[in-house]
Amino acid sequence: MTNVSDLIRSIEHVKEEVPRLRTGDTVRVHTRIVEGDRERLQVFQGIVIRQQGSGAARTFTVRRVASHGIGVERTFPLHSPRVEKIEVVSRAQVRRAKLYFLRGRRGKSARLKEERERA
């Protein structure tokens, strides 16, 4: 018999191709929104502050500062069919896996160091 965890993985709905996200990435997430019987795409742009879970249950959280300086965080299931596309806009140099410290900051101090060119 095959390995049980491989077997369960073969049943779970995992997307074939998914961008390799890292915390600190600035991303544009295109989500499918159903309104009545109309469907449209919505874009949410912000910084990935957390990734969590494994397999089909993996999720990531994007934080952006909306109008009037109000922080908005949305958590997306990475493999959800409602997440149409994830574009990585830019990457940043970060030294921790969870960027919760951004929540307490605003303006200039809430910026991250841009990633330098890597060979």
Partner: protein, 216 residues
């Protein structure tokens, strides 16, 4: 009565057609053999005895081996009976696999729950426990008063107290069948099922729900 024996393999997550995440349990279901048919005339009740999981014949006792070889069935580790009114549909030696279940129907799953050992009243009976603060000590998970004073002057029978929890037969009803894979003998069911991995499960068609609950 459709039924099959199986083994809990583990849990995972899939997305339904609406894009919602659904927790699922993967069950190794069958193949099973009908090892005996119980008839009201001979046994006083109607049931089928199912056997599951092939083993080396040397793992069984001689009476078990003879019981199975008489029905031309391989050596099987588990034998369990399922009450069935429609016993004339089954013959001894018949093979049963997951294809008896359809996606979208509902099943009841029976197994043995995980043993929790000697558990307190908060875990075992979902008591609230006592206050943590305001000068309290040793009261967080205490059961509180167990009875009044001189009247009645005793503790009522059946009062919920700490004790052994789990490791008992539990049936979860009305689990939706999400996937059936006869090639790999897999049954995928929405929600959780009693017991740890590798637990023996009895899967029967749901007693209370027969049609799909899905609206739309």
């Amino acid at each position: 009565m459709r039924g099959i024996l199986g083994k809990k393999l583990g849990m995972g997550q899939i997305f339904n057609e609406k894009g919602e995440a659904v927790p699922v349990t993967v069950i190794q279901a069958g193949p099973c053999y009908v090892t005996q048919v119980r008839t009201p005339e001979r046994d006083g009740y109607a049931a089928i005895q199912l056997g599951f999981e092939e083993v080396k014949p040397s793992r069984l006792t001689k009476p078990q081996r003879v019981h199975l070889s008489k029905r031309n069935v391989p050596a099987l580790r588990y034998l369990r009976e399922i009450r069935a009114g429609d016993i004339d549909q089954y013959q001894e030696g018949q093979k049963i696999d997951v294809s008896i279940f359809q996606v979208g129907t509902f099943v009841d799953v029976t197994g043995r729950s995980k043993g929790r050992g000697f558990a307190g009243v908060v875990k075992r009976h979902r008591f609230g426990g006592g206050p943590k603060t305001h000068g309290q000590s040793d009261r967080w998970r205490a059961p509180g008063a167990i009875s009044a004073g001189s009247t009645p002057g005793r503790v009522f029978k059946g009062l919920r107290m700490a004790g052994r929890m789990g490791n008992e037969r539990v049936t979860v009803q009305n689990l939706e069948v999400v996937m059936v894979d006869p090639a790999r003998n897999l049954l995928v069911v929405k929600g959780a099922v009693p017991g740890a991995r590798n637990e023996l499960l009895i899967i029967r068609e749901a007693r209370k729900t027969t049609v799909s609950k899905k609206r739309r």
